[in-house]
Amino acid sequence: MRFLLLALLPFLALLLQSTIFRAITIFGAIPDMVLVLVIFYALLNGERKGTVYGVICGLLEDLYIGRFIGINSISKGITAYIVGRLQGNVFKENLFVGVIGVIAGTALNSVLLLILSLTSFEVFNLDISIIIEMIYQGIYNTLIAIPMYVWYYSSSSRGLLREAGER
């Protein structure tokens, strides 16, 4: 059940991002719910599992978009690894941990995407607007992270996302 939900969540997030969130943008930017899910997972499960989850979720997004397949896998994998590395020292039940994780993770992921794009895209018009869009996305991610983390944390400690054997 836990695995099914873990697989279903990014699938659902991508579906929402491509449909409903297109109608509710913040200055044209939509949130990256898949990334938020990856960050939460890495925060609660550490770098090893987090990286694997990040790569798989990123790959789903890449396969859906069909363009530079791997770019999101790499960026989300690395983001999850770094977020996961830092998770050992913090009190995860604190909502701020989730929110700050998302802010830092989104910034990191954006920078990674930018670097990966610069190295591999043949024609890609980069200008200041993409940075502005990233900032709006960061704000949007933070806003949705608040309710999502409350649910995600309680589900991971007491609900469907709890690992078997843990109490």
């Binding site: 991508l14 579906l15 991002q17 491509s18 449909t19 409903i20 297109r22 109608a23 044209g28 930017a29 939509i30 990256d32 898949v34 090893r48 990286t51 790569v55 789903l60 997004e61 396969l63 859906y64 978009i65 069909g66 363009r67 530079f68 397949i69 791997g70 770019i71 896998s73 790499i74 994998g77 995407l113 990966l116 794009s117 591999s120 895209f121 043949e122 024609v123 890609f124 018009n125 980069l126 200008d127 607007s129 993409i130 869009e133 990233m134 709006y136 996305q137």
Partner: protein, 277 residues
């Protein structure tokens, strides 16, 4: 010091990362065919996206009816009952009328262009799931004869190009995408050939490679030049908003506002075939 070389996890990460980088490079160029895995992912999304699209359309309709109902309230107290009934009916008819008008517009355009283009109308069911790309997904695919590379228009002008096709959906890159470039010409003077490229923002385009001696003016219409094999000539792209000299002094560049309102795009027409005469 090199202990990590003996760790299995290090090699797993390294090999995965290298593999992904190779795949990234391979999938960076325009591919006509998509892999089975991509097809599977997209086809599993298509019915869900179609369903959500229908729900959103229904929701818009309900919102419209509710909003208009609120406006009607407070009007002529005596005839309130009758009025309400009539206005409700009216609202529904109005909604139908706008739909009919929109579809009729699409149809007449289709008829008037039929001697030139073989068109296929399609509905947009999803948009880009991230902020980096400007792509849309339509509800027609290889089953309807859509193939990669086909130009996409609407009655206002050029929308983009079909990039990849799965069984019953297709992905279109909008001309506003950062990677898109279209050969363009000024409609009135026909003198300047340039390239219109996307800026990644809604409605914002840029025309580059305009020679410095060009008499390009604000407000002039930009159309496809037909020099590329992808786009037929004469499709409206947008109008010149601002012209400025590039730092090298040899060429000008201009911002172009697109003819198509990408925020309100709901239906598009795919040019399946066109006469290049």
């Amino acid at each position: 010091m090199f202990d990590f070389l003996r760790k299995k996890s290090f090699w797993t990460i390294l090999i995965t990362a290298l593999l992904l980088l190779v795949v990234m490079e391979l999938s960076s160029s325009n591919r006509q065919e998509i892999t089975i895995l991509e097809r599977f992912v997209r086809d599993s999304y298509t019915p869900l996206q179609k369903g959500i699209d229908k729900l959103q359309a229904l929701n818009d309709r309900i919102n419209l009816i509710i909003a208009q109902k609120k406006n009607m309230e407070g009007q002529i107290a005596e005839l309130k009952m009758q009025n309400n009934q009539l206005s409700m009916e009216n609202q529904q008819l109005r909604e139908n009328k706008s739909e009919v008008e929109r579809l009729r517009g699409l149809l007449t355009y289709k008829q008037s262009q039929e001697h030139q283009y073989d068109l296929e109308a399609a509905r947009i069911i999803a948009r880009s799931p991230n902020n980096w790309y400007k792509i849309i997904t339509i509800d027609k695919g290889s089953e309807n004869g859509i193939t990669g590379g086909m130009p996409v228009i609407n009655p206002d002008g050029l929308v983009g190009r079909v990039v990849s096709v799965s069984t019953n959906s297709a992905q279109i890159w909008l001309i506003t995408d950062r990677e898109m470039a279209v050969g363009a010409i000024l409609q009135e003077t026909r003198e300047t050939r340039g390239i219109v490229e996307g800026m990644g923002e809604n409605g914002a385009l840029r025309m580059i490679n305009i020679p410095y001696y060009s008499q390009v003016k604000v407000g002039e219409h930009v159309v496809t030049s037909g020099l590329s094999e992808t786009y037929p000539p004469g499709i409206h792209i947008g109008s010149i908003q601002e012209v400025k000299k590039e730092s090298n002094g040899l060429v000008l560049s201009a911002t172009v506002s697109s003819a198509v309102d990408f925020n309100r795009l709901e239906e598009v027409l795919i040019i399946k075939k066109y006469n290049n005469e």
